[in-house]
Amino acid sequence: MSTSTVKSDYLLLFRGNVWDRGLSPAQLQKVVSDWMAWFERLKREGKCLDGNPLEEEGKVVSGKQGRTVADGPFAESKEAIGGYFYLQVADENEAIEIARQCPGLEYGSVVEVRPVADTCSIKQRAEEYSQGQLAGTMA
């Protein structure tokens, strides 16, 4: 067992927002109470710092100066993000273990586990460029 006290942050993204369709009232009641109990437990244990559902309808902004504003994502999508948990855990394994406890999984919900980064990867690439350039000028 690790005695490390260093914590890592992970985001769980819950994908699919129509998995409840076709569930019987009894199944639905079970999955809902399991989900709430799961969230409350993780908060109590200090492993989940925040969590929120997202409204199904939103907007997707793209193009130069954001000139394209479309409705989206499609509510009926299996890929659409329905909500998230912000986790603070020991490592990726613990984040995966928690994700595997998601009560929606058996009904087709999908959980994406993503590490929260300190620095944006693009910024990092830019820094590498400029260091490379610097090294070039010094050579």
Partner: protein, 133 residues
């Protein structure tokens, strides 16, 4: 919540363009922050896992880093309506390089749960009863 989609918008930019864009991006973010609009914001690491199946039986690497859909980071806006959130999204300096911003209102109540309000009430009662026992 703003979800930034597409992780490789910087490909093909010269180092000079990239630096200029990142400076603009930093200024954009600082501006929002100073105006008290930012509640939380983080980039996400490119490598992650996708969990699915009963008891999370299926664990695969993902999302594909090359995907234009992959979420590269997020920004939670503070006390902002959808219209203002869209305006903020439209002012993001990296849109012209192909990045997409998804704007999603954060809810107090899960919409899946809200579709079944009675069931939720019963589930809550059960939960409180269990907690009290």
């Amino acid at each position: 919540m703003l979800l930034f989609r597409g992780q490789h918008w910087d490909r093909g930019l010269s180092p000079h363009e990239l630096k200029a864009t990142l400076d603009k991006l930093t200024a954009w973010f600082e501006g929002l922050n100073e105006r008290g609009k930012v509640k939380a914001s983080q980039p996400l690491g490119a490598q992650g896992r996708i969990i699915s199946g009963a008891n999370g039986g299926l664990v695969v690497d993902g999302p594909f880093a090359e995907s234009k859909e992959a979420v590269g980071g997020y920004l939670v806006l503070q006390a902002v309506g959808l219209k203002e959130a869209v305006e903020i999204a439209r002012s993001m300096p990296t849109l012209k390089y192909g990045l997409t911003v998804e704007v999603r209102p954060i809810l107090g109540e899960c919409p899946t749960f809200a579709r079944h309000a009675e069931v939720i009430e019963r589930a809550k009662d059960q939960l409180w009863a269990a907690a009290a026992a």
